[in-house]
């Protein structure tokens, strides 16, 4: 079954609306929660006046931050530095309001409309303070208690090799500054949660769970001082995840708190404007790169300086995204010496977290823009510069000599050069370029961009699964990983069917129910198929053996006389399906459980990788960019279901095209969000989608797991910003170099307007400039939306 593009098991229910999205769930006696949020980006909170709201029709309770002072903030899933714990977000604001949308009060009412009505009667008395809205150091800021005199709260340093020597010996020093705007995932279903208190004991079931139910169970139990087994998370359907959905947010804890306090089910459904204010934002990085480069375009050293606008607090992912950017910035390139410094800054904006290919979408954009800058500066073919810098197959597994979130970065397998050449040939890059050039000669503005990337499939946590023969004769595959639309039920069932040699309809997958399995790492970083799939592979081996042993004992034959076969097993020539076997067991040995549990862990991450080639056309009148064709070659090791891999790549790439050309969350000068609906936050629609050509390669199975798997979820989005920007650059005959995403018509207009004077602009400060000097240049670059700041300093 592995390797076959079978139909998705999920689809029939979804097509018939036989679904369990949290919005459509209801419980008897259920109350509805409305969250009153800060209207100010930054203010000293004096009092919250709730009397009128508490008297409003249908209102059962109104609570403010002071009422839940004793509840601790939501913690980090890892603690990189205890010093960072002080920046966690409280469940509701206490003394200070730090972003528009921060929870200030909750209203519990018998009806969601009445709860919202009453919310409008809550009065917030606050002294407005000036907001901090960028990564600048601000020694005089009035927000000093939060920001310790400056808004930089953390600094990450990574590196290897002798960077000074690399620059001292280099023929050229090439510098670029890149910026990726604040963006977020916007799944089509907003968040939602229903907490249903247990009847006779302290505890509750929480519906609407996704992504990491086990981790969230643990944190909920800790915050609410409950026994972990009395907190049960229940995942139904989730309308998209992409990293943002399923993290533990204040609202999840607040519904549970309210349900426990009131002894009634409590439901909260986020509206879309709230979603834009409250769910994790992401990206929002500035990346400055200096490269020491030989005459032939080989990078001897790379110095990266990053600044991340993290928003008002650190949430579950603390400063992880910046860490990942530093770790994966070198991408598929050898780069003998590397140094990265990332600073993380708190601002009066919505807090940030992870969004599909976190840190990598940003890092790949900067790195690939650098490769193109080297090619432009040295008059080389951008593909040739890539060839000269790629890690070779002989160097695999490649030890990067740095860590990503505490784990060694080792590229497990692959031949980057081979994949590049395969892509060039399969997509006929020379012909794509020739045709684009011809159209440019005819006056069109058409270009081709190439980008490469290395992804990672996370293996940081272990993963337990259980196979169990249920009373209806189905084998239940019990996993704590989560379905976010990616088709994991299908892929994991394929692996089980393959392992046991039984048809897929012999199985039923149970997911995201914390009372059904003791442990799970959850679904993120493309890990589910690899981690849960590897565990299922092992569990099915054990289950098969047990099935044979139990059947043999039941019928008094030797195990050699039993084979797993057809829809169950064949015992001494007699076929028995699983339902018959279950019935026979129930009669003869009712206590016999046919269960197999397995746990998979891997010390090493798997690293899928690939090539994106974009073809764009720019409208000369309105400067809108249309992606005409998009090509992806992706090395996945082994594809469990190739169609589902293609679906992930395609969907991810379109999301990435949105990130490259459209999506930006912006704020007014006083910190008011200007992006609070899909009308403001423009995402791709049908008319924006290019023709796709996707090549799923299985040339390099991963040695990190028994099936050779690598993840599928993030390879579609990873290099999309880089490929599209390169194509836009090519469309203008390399007269401009877009280095800020998204590339909007306005940003292109500004870039083109500056082209004439660009070469006379001040170049970047000499290497090893002081932090202050660099900060001021970075600031200037950040103000300059064109980001047209390339300077080429011959190092000698």
């Amino acid at each position: 079954m592995i390797g076959r593009s079978v139909d998705r098991l999920e689809d029939d229910d979804l097509l018939r609306a036989n679904t369990r999205f949290v919005g459509s769930l209801a419980f008897e006696d259920m109350l509805h929660m409305h969250v009153v949020r800060s209207p100010y980006a930054h203010a000293r909170l004096k009092t919250v006046i709730v009397d009128k709201a508490a008297m409003a029709p249908g209102v059962i309770a109104v609570w403010v931050g002071n009422d839940i002072r004793d509840l601790s903030p939501i913690g980090f899933r890892r603690v990189p530095d205890r010093d960072l714990l002080q920046y966690r977000q409280r469940l509701m604001a206490l003394e200070e309001l730090r972003y528009v949308g921060e929870p200030v009060a909750i209203v519990l009412a018998t009806d969601p409309y009445l709860a919202e009505d009453a919310g409008r009667l809550v009065a917030i008395d606050a002294e407005i303070l000036p907001p901090v809205l960028d990564c600048e150091p601000r020694p005089d800021s009035r927000s000093e208690p939060l920001l310790r005199g400056r808004n930089e709260i953390a600094r990450i340093e990574k590196g290897y090799g002798d960077i000074e020597a690399a620059f001292a010996a280099a023929d050229h020093k090439i510098s670029i500054s890149c910026q990726i705007a604040r963006q977020t995932a916007v799944p089509l279903e907003t968040r939602g949660a229903i907490a249903v208190p247990h009847a006779h004991a302290a505890g509750f079931d929480l519906y609407g769970a996704a992504k990491v139910p086990h981790a969230n169970r643990q944190e909920l139990a800790k915050i609410l001082s409950l026994d972990i087994d009395s907190v049960v998370l229940r995942e139904g359907h989730a309308g998209g995840g992409f990293g943002v959905r399923g993290e533990l947010y204040p609202e999840d804890v607040l519904v549970a708190f309210a349900a426990l306090r009131l002894g009634r089910p409590v439901k909260w459904i986020e509206d879309r404007s709230e979603h834009f204010l409250a769910i994790n934002h992401s990206r929002d990085q500035m990346i400055h790169l200096d490269a020491a480069v030989s005459e032939g375009g080989v990078i001897a050293g790379l110095h990266a300086r990053l600044a991340t606008d993290q928003g008002a607090y650190l949430r579950t992912h603390e400063i992880k995204v910046s860490d990942l950017s530093c770790a994966f910035l070198p991408g598929p390139y050898r780069i003998p010496a590397y140094r990265a410094t990332a600073t993380v800054h708190l601002t009066n904006k919505t807090p940030c977290g992870t969004y599909r290919a976190p840190g990598r979408f940003e890092a790949t954009f900067a790195m690939e823009r650098m490769i193109d800058a080297i090619a432009a500066a040295l008059a080389l073919d951008p593909v040739e510069v890539r060839r000269r810098n790629l890690i070779s197959a002989a160097e695999m597994p490649f030890e990067r000599k740095i860590e990503a979130t505490g784990k060694r970065v080792v590229y497990d397998s692959g031949d980057y050069r081979q994949t590049l050449e395969t892509a060039i040939e399969a997509f006929d890059l020379p012909e794509l370029r020739r045709a684009a050039e011809e159209r440019r000669r005819e006056g069109e503005c058409v270009g081709i961009g190439v980008a490469m990337f290395v992804e990672k499939t996370d293996t940081a946590l272990h993963e337990t699964v259980r196979l169990e023969l249920a009373s209806d004769g189905k084998i239940e595959i019990v996993t704590g990983t989560s379905s976010l639309g990616q088709g994991m039920e299908t892929a994991l069932t394929q692996i089980a069917a393959d392992g046991l040699g039984l048809p897929m309809d012999a199985f039923r997958l149970v997911r995201g129910q914390t009372d059904r399995i003791a442990q799970s790492g959850g679904t993120f970083a493309s890990r589910t198929t690899l981690m849960a799939g590897s565990a299922i592979h092992e569990a099915s081996r054990i289950f098969r053996q047990k099935l044979i042993e139990v059947s043999a004992a039941l019928y008094g034959v030797t195990t050699g006389e039993v084979t797993v076969h057809g829809e169950g097993c064949c015992i001494d020539g007699r076929s028995l399906n699983l339902l018959q076997l279950r019935a026979a067991l129930d009669t003869a040995a009712p206590d016999t459980q046919l269960v197999a549990e397995a746990d998979f862990s891997s010390g090493a991450m798997a690293c899928p990788y690939g090539v994106h080639i974009a073809q764009v056309k720019v409208d000369p009148d309105d400067l809108s960019v249309m992606v005409e064709k998009y090509h992806i070659a992706y090395e996945i090791g082994r594809a469990v279901n190739p169609d589902l891999v293609r679906a992930q790549l395609l969907g991810g790439a379109v999301q990435g095209i949105g990130g490259a050309l459209m999506e930006e969350i912006s704020f007014s000068a006083d910190g008011q969000p200007l992006t609070i609906s899909f009308a403001h936050y423009v995402t791709p629609r049908t008319v924006d989608v290019p023709a796709f050509d996707i090549l799923v390669l299985e040339d390099w199975p991963s040695p990190t797991n028994p099936l050779g798997l690598k993840g599928a979820g993030e390879g579609g989005i990873n290099a999309a910003g880089a490929a599209v920007a390169a194509a836009v650059e090519d469309a203008f005959g390399a007269t401009i170099a877009p280095r800020r995403l998204p590339i909007t018509p306005k940003s292109l207009f500004d870039l083109l307007a500056r082209t004439d004077s660009a070469h006379t602009r001040a170049s970047w400060p000499a290497r090893q400039g002081s932090a202050t000097e660099w900060d001021s240049h970075f600031r200037n670059a950040a103000d300059d939306t064109s980001s047209f700041c390339r300077g080429i300093n011959p190092a000698r």
């Binding site: 999920e10 097509l15 036989n18 409309y113």
Partner: protein, 163 residues
């Protein structure tokens, strides 16, 4: 905010007459979901931008979240659970499944309503693509949805069933 007075609303839902008492500010989507048990009635944005709430009202796809239920009095409403032509519904389901036009499935009912409208009116492909751009999907990258609808239009042309 004082609108607790209930109004009697009557409409046809998937061929069956419904008579309901609703407050005037309830959206059609909320009423279809919470009062009528239609799980395909979903709010994606509540602002008319995303189309997850699309239902067919008197044969035209509309945003259920922007219509008050009281405005639907007397209307003929169809949801993705039961399109007017069962054969067409089956064909749409089959094509969506075949072309991987579904991932999380949240937007799927809205796109099914659009597909039914496109097929019923035999829209040319460019208009079909424009029509599909009314709704947002964040998972599939749209081209599988467009492929499904393209195939359905071709099948329809082959079978020669015109409006």
């Amino acid at each position: 905010m004082e609108d607790t007075e209930l109004h009697t609303v009557s409409f046809k839902l998937n061929g069956h007459v419904q008579v309901l008492q609703v407050a005037p500010r309830r959206s059609l989507t909320h009423v279809l979901d919470q009062e009528c048990g239609m799980k395909s009635a979903r709010v994606g944005c509540g602002q008319g931008d995303c189309g997850s709430c699309t239902v067919s009202v008197d044969g035209v796809p509309i945003r259920g979240c922007l219509l008050f239920a009281v405005q639907a009095d007397g209307a003929d409403i169809r949801t993705a659970e039961a399109l007017a032509d069962p054969a067409m519904l089956a064909a749409i389901r089959k094509a969506f499944k075949k072309h991987r036009a579904i991932q999380c499935g949240y937007c799927t009912p809205g796109f099914m309503i659009l597909a039914e409208y496109i097929l019923r009116n035999a829209l040319p492909l460019d208009q079909a693509v424009q029509t599909l751009s009314a709704n947002l999907c964040r998972c599939t990258g749209y081209s599988p949805i467009v492929s499904a609808v393209t195939e359905l239009l071709a099948l329809r042309a082959e079978n020669g069933c015109g409006p």
